[in-house]
């Protein structure tokens, strides 16, 4: 692969799908997965740009994104479990106690 | 009852019993509420049916488990899947015809059961058993104890995942079954004991066969010890698991090694010696902590003691008859039938009607491999008993399971079931 344009395109598409997922789904777990998808798509872009400019910094960035994603998933899923214990649901619409 | 799918809707209307499509449920919802914690009804904890067809319930025991993760919150044993009606059947039979039935209660220790039943009837009618028969009964009862313990050890170890021990135990058990076959003609359902003595005298090959066992067994027991006693995994799985203290164990009516594991020195052989057990020198191993490991130790330490008793009995074995010569109790030798009309009459009378007993009630207990095996007989003077009851060790010991397993892990439950050594035939009768 020498031309990264299609890769960026793919990345953008995946990102869009992730965004739509995040705002249209109600199952918190799936929303979470869509966030992961968005992170992945940005990773893809980073790797592509790293390839473009011929240095490794982009790949390193992906590495850190992964670390952050791992931390986020750990805490997020723990939250999910805690919420599920009290509400027996992962529907984000039901998590509206903070509404005005 | 089928698996209760959680969360269970809590019915608030008149439908208090769960029926309709839950036709498989045979207890009411209210009854279920009393058995498990409220958390199970909201689906927070999981209800799990372990058994009646489950590899580690040692038969057809069913346990209704309430699990929080893998932690057992409640354990409700459900028995009766192997109910054979032996007690009731025995009420309709002359006394001697119930002996084969007793084989089938604790089917892993037939000789002990025979001994208890015969002893009870002998006590009821007041017949003396020849000393040779008593000694042979002791030898066979101790072999039976080892037989029972071997099956227990094998299955218990298999429950905890030690696979080879099971096969080694079964190998050793063969030697004892060979003795059974040699003396009685059957490997499991021996029915060898008769009221007033034994069916026949043991064959001449009996003694060398038992001597061989005496020689081989200590080594084999050592082998199990090498595999288990110091094994860290084994210790981790057993030490401190399923603890029950002495008082609580007594309250549950536990007996046998399961009770002695908690440190209570109660052994029918010592407490109320029968069948000339007081002629022999032996010790009763005791545990201290009342956990799975101590029960395991108690049983394993009983092997050498049993061997010791057998050796003493074999060395002191007197000559003489093996069954009482009271023709009213025991049928005469067959060759007498041809020559003696009296014998013929006794023979026919015993095999058709049986014998009459004095009115009254007796209780006679022996120490079987699993604990106190007691027989209660109530007689109204007819040839059939009015009431027969077997006080079986497995039943009493099983009662403690719910207590011991509270708060343990699922895997511990399996170990605890193994450690109390139940046989469902013994539980359900």
């Amino acid at each position: 692969m020498t031309d990264i344009q299609p890769v960026i395109l793919l990345s953008a598409l995946l990102f869009t799908i992730g965004v739509v997922g995040v705002i249209s789904r109600r199952n918190a777990l799936i929303i979470f997965m869509c966030v992961e998808l968005m992170l992945n798509s940005s990773n893809l872009a980073l790797v592509a740009f790293a390839r473009q400019w011929g240095n490794l910094d982009g790949q390193l960035f992906v590495f850190f994104v992964m670390a952050v994603a791992a931390a986020e998933v750990a805490v997020g899923l723990a939250l999910m479990v805690a919420i599920f214990r009290t509400k027996h649901s992962t529907n984000v619409d039901e998590l509206s106690q903070l509404k005005g | 009852m089928a698996i209760v799918q959680a969360p269970i809707p809590i019915y608030e209307d008149e439908r208090n019993t769960v029926t309709a499509q839950d036709a498989q449920l045979d207890i009411t919802f209210d009854q279920l509420k009393k058995l498990v914690s409220p958390r199970a009804l909201t689906g927070e904890t999981m209800l799990l049916n372990m058994g009646p067809q489950h590899p580690s319930t040692h038969g057809v025991l069913r346990l209704l488990l309430e699990l929080d993760g893998e932690t057992v919150i409640n354990c409700v044993p459900d028995i009766g899947y192997l109910h054979t009606g032996i007690e009731k059947t025995a009420e309709g039979k002359p006394y001697m015809k119930s002996i084969p039935l007793t084989d089938r209660t604790d089917y892993l220790a037939p000789m002990s059961n025979n001994l208890a039943y015969c002893g009870a009837v002998e006590k009821l009618v007041g017949v003396d058993v020849p000393i040779r028969a008593q000694y042979l009964r002791v030898i066979l009862a101790e072999l039976t104890r080892m037989n029972s313990h071997l099956v227990w050890l094998g299955t218990h170890a298999l429950d905890i995942g030690a696979m080879s021990v099971f096969l080694y135990c079964m190998r050793e058990r063969e030697m004892i079954l060979d003795v059974y076959e040699n003396v009685s003609g059957a490997r499991m359902m021996s029915s060898y004991f008769r009221i007033g003595g034994l069916w026949r005298d043991v064959p001449s090959s009996f003694e060398p066969q038992v001597r061989k066992i005496l020689e081989v067994f200590p080594k084999r027991v050592l082998e199990y010890e090498k595999l288990l006693k110091e094994n860290p995994i084994w210790r981790e799985r057993t030490v401190g698991i399923g603890k029950i203290d002495a008082v609580r164990a007594l309250e549950f009516g536990m007996t046998g090694p399961s009770l002695r594991g908690s440190g209570v020195n109660y052994d029918v052989r010592k407490a109320a010696p029968y069948s000339s057990y007081d002629h022999f020198n032996f010790e009763v191993p005791l545990g201290t902590n009342g956990d799975v490991y101590d029960r395991y130790r108690c049983r394993l330490d009983e092997f050498p003691q049993s061997l010791k008793i057998i050796e003493q009995a074999l060395n002191k074995l007197p000559a003489g008859p093996v069954i009482t010569d009271d023709r009213k109790i025991a049928p005469p030798p067959k060759h007498e039938i041809a020559t003696s009309m009296e014998s013929l009459i006794h023979h026919f009378k015993l095999w058709t009607e049986g014998f009459r007993t004095p009115e009254g009630e007796v209780y006679f207990a022996v120490e079987s491999g699993k604990g106190e095996y007691g027989v209660f007989l109530s007689s109204n003077g007819t040839p059939t008993p009015r009431r027969v009851h077997f006080r079986t060790p497995s039943f009493s010991n099983l009662q403690a399971l719910a207590y011991m397993s509270k708060g343990c892990m699922l895997a511990d439950l399996v170990a605890i079931i193994g450690s109390i050594d139940i046989v469902l035939g013994d539980v359900d009768r």
Binding site: M1, D3, I4, Q5, P6, I8, L9, L10, A12, L13, L14, F15, T16, I17, V19, V20, G21, I23, S24, R25, N27, L29, F32, M33, C34, E36, L37, N40, N43, V47, A48, A50, R51, Q52, G54, L56, Q59, L60, V62, F63, F64, M66, A67, V68, A69, A70, A71, E72, V73, A74, V75, L77, L79, M80, V81, A82, S89, T90, N91, D93 | -
Partner: protein, 166 residues
């Protein structure tokens, strides 16, 4: 059309399809499976982009750890099918609007990608574990350490959150 591009095309189609599957699946387990597929396909693209290390880490971390956690939690909660019907009638227009905005975003992205020409890429450089590691422990040492602290904090947080108070 080179063989590599062919491979890319196939994999990209798979990844878009799996992302759509994630978006549309009713069942959380299926969603997770689609996401795993998506991640594995991205790993293949990373390979095409001369990033074998990242590809391997992608599979190991995302597919091997993060998604296992997801699947584990879904199974633990039994939350895979808890997709209640739309209970908020006032939000009926929300999903179409989200889709519309998403399409708009996608078009904007397309525009940006194609409006600006991207210059020919530089030479391929070695992206093995050695090179990455060297960079990680020199230039990026501080972020690396911070990441480790972040993970530690996340770990503690997860433990605290899921601990049952007795």
């Amino acid at each position: 059309m080179s063989a590599e591009f062919l491979v890319f095309l196939v994999v990209a189609l798979i990844s878009v399809a799996s992302a759509l599957g994630l978006l549309l699946s009713k069942n959380a387990i299926y969603a997770a499976m689609f996401l795993i597929l998506n991640m594995v396909s991205l790993a293949v693209i990373y390979l095409l982009l001369n990033a074998p290390f990242i590809a391997a880490v992608q599979v190991a971390v995302y597919a091997g750890a993060i998604m296992v956690l997801f699947v584990f939690v879904i199974m633990l909660l039994g939350a895979e099918k808890l997709n209640a019907p739309e209970t908020r009638p006032g939000l009926k227009w929300q999903q179409p609007l989200a889709l519309a905005l998403g399409v708009a975003l996608a078009f904007q992205a397309l525009y940006v990608v194609f409006a600006r020409g991207i210059t020919a890429p530089a030479n391929v450089i070695e992206a093995g574990p050695l090179a990455i590691g060297r960079l990680l422990f020199t230039t990026y040492l501080f972020p690396f350490e911070v990441a480790s602290i972040l993970l530690l904090a996340a770990m503690v947080g997860a433990v605290v959150l899921t601990k049952k108070d007795n």
